[in-house]
């Protein structure tokens, strides 16, 4: 009985997990499948397979403009947040300074605040200051909520950095600037890239904060939200599916290559 229950226990977990993965992937599969739907106005009922949505993705009013807007916002906000966040991450690990705990708290709070509060707060501030909502206010908002995530990601990398490598640079008469450019920065780069990708993903998919601060400026999620009332065109599914495939290919390739690297290192060691 004990052997049986242990056997069952092991397989039950496998079966459950496979079903759980299938469950998580259902809406993704649905979105991709319906990007090939030969739909007219509303993309709800399956009407046959077509590639037209993919080949003429910009035909649908506004989809491509919204997508381009999201790319611009994502790139600019990512650059700003990555620079500001990386600087803070280095300071947090490498320096002792007054108000250190308050600084940590200030970085933590935006992650612990509901998006609707962040969005309404910024909108109230822009309203009071008489700032016109548009692309600039969206970029300012996205940079704000990305900074904390950059700090968390880069900080882990700074903390795992071996200080001996930088010491070696100084011992070899490199100036502090040279040590940073030739030693510290290249070692931090994987962490910085990971942080930038996370920022871009957060910015690209943000709807709630954007909705409060965009005015007439339309990002891709905002386009989908507005279109939801009258039916989403299949072209929106095309863009979401393409972004999904690119992201997955990117992540899986980096995982497989780092696994291969680990194996090589293990063999050498």
């Amino acid at each position: 009985m004990n052997a049986f229950s242990r056997w069952f226990g092991r397989y039950a977990l496998w079966i459950y997990s496979i079903l759980a993965f299938v469950f998580l992937l259902i809406p993704i599969a649905y979105t991709i499948v319906f990007s090939f739907n030969d739909s007219r106005r509303s993309n709800i009922v399956w009407r046959g397979f077509t590639l037209d949505n993919w080949t003429q993705v910009c035909n649908s009013q506004g989809v491509c403009e919204a997508f381009a807007n999201s790319l611009v916002v994502g790139v600019v906000a990512t650059i700003l947040a990555t620079i500001l966040g990386t600087m803070i991450a280095i300071a947090l690990v490498r320096f002792r300074f007054p108000f250190r705990n308050s600084t940590t708290l200030l970085l933590f709070l935006p992650m612990a605040t509901p998006e609707v509060v962040l969005g309404a707060g910024l909108a109230a501030e822009f309203l009071t200051a008489g700032v016109q909502k548009g692309v600039v206010t969206v970029i300012l908002a996205h940079t704000m909520f990305c900074i904390s995530f950059v700090v968390v990601t880069v900080r882990a990398r700074v903390a795992s950095l071996d200080p001996a490598l930088e010491e070696a640079g100084r011992d070899l008469y490199a100036s502090p600037a040279q040590v940073f450019v030739r030693v510290t920065f290249p070692l931090l780069l994987p962490g910085i890239i990971a942080a930038a990708l996370l920022s871009f993903a957060l910015s690209f998919d943000d709807f709630i904060i954007t909705n409060f601060n965009s005015g007439a400026f339309v990002t891709f999620p905002k386009y989908v939200y507005t279109a939801a009332a009258r039916g989403i065109p299949a072209e929106a599914n095309v863009i979401a599916s393409a972004v999904f495939v690119i992201a997955i290919v990117f992540v899986v390739t980096s995982q497989v290559s780092s696994a291969a690297k680990r194996k090589r290192l293990a063999k050498q060691g």
Binding site: W14, A156, A159, L198, F244, Q255
Partner: protein, 305 residues
Amino acid sequence: MAFGAFGGTIAAPAEPAVRKRSRVALFLLLPGILYLALFFLAPLLSLVITSFQAPVEFGDIGQYQTAFRWENYTTVIGTYAPHILRSFVFAATATVAALLFSFPLAYFIGVTLRRFPLAQALALTLVIAPFFISFLLRTLAWKQLLSDESWFVSALHGLQLLPPGSHVTGTAFSVIFGLTYNFIPFMTLPIYTSLEKLDLRYVEAGGDLYASPASTFFRITVPLAAPGIISGALLTFIPAAGDYINASRDFLGGTDTAMIGNVIEANFLVLQNYPAAAALSLILMVAILIPVSVYVVRSGTDDLL
């Protein structure tokens, strides 16, 4: 570390050569801190000021002046008490559902797949895969999949498992279902991080000491996974409580599923009742800050990021 658990693997910080050139530290910190002061702290202050504002006499809709109207708070609580309550019930239910869904999955990835690093990494990718497809589109996908015309719902009707004439979408169930689905990765990843480090010898010791599997599970495995469960619960509850996509009528919600996020959006962007929206936002913020500050006090500020 708990919230940081989400950002990736964190190595134990090797005590670095701490330099005391505070001018460099200031140069590194100041731009980012000023940015957050300007676009995170100042907006919270704006919310406080706005929440007490009074309408301009004989003014247009959306015109307010600085005042000290406490009544704004009592008014919104009186008007929107059901929405506030509903947000917390929905978010709490979704958090529990996400925990029940995630724990076995996180155990599978963190413990069962432990000897296969590549399979483990790919399984984690599957968990976060929903984040790579638009939040709004994946929610709309569920709306279609749970609509009356879908084969799933017609099958339920055919088997008479659903009362005739009833719907799945537009109900409290579908909103909680959507909240659960959308925030599952926030629950699974921190629990995985805790379980991945779980020393199986403790679990074996439980068995050796004649504890039943259930008592080993609840007295050894769960307590060791507690940090992950707590941060997972916060990471799920916070966005779920403030969400207004799932509960929106164009998505999974109906006429009587509006949550606090929906009424904040409606008051701010449609009715231009900024003081009401600001007061509701601050009520939500304070309600969230209570569990968060318990968490901060217990884990200490050093481990926050």
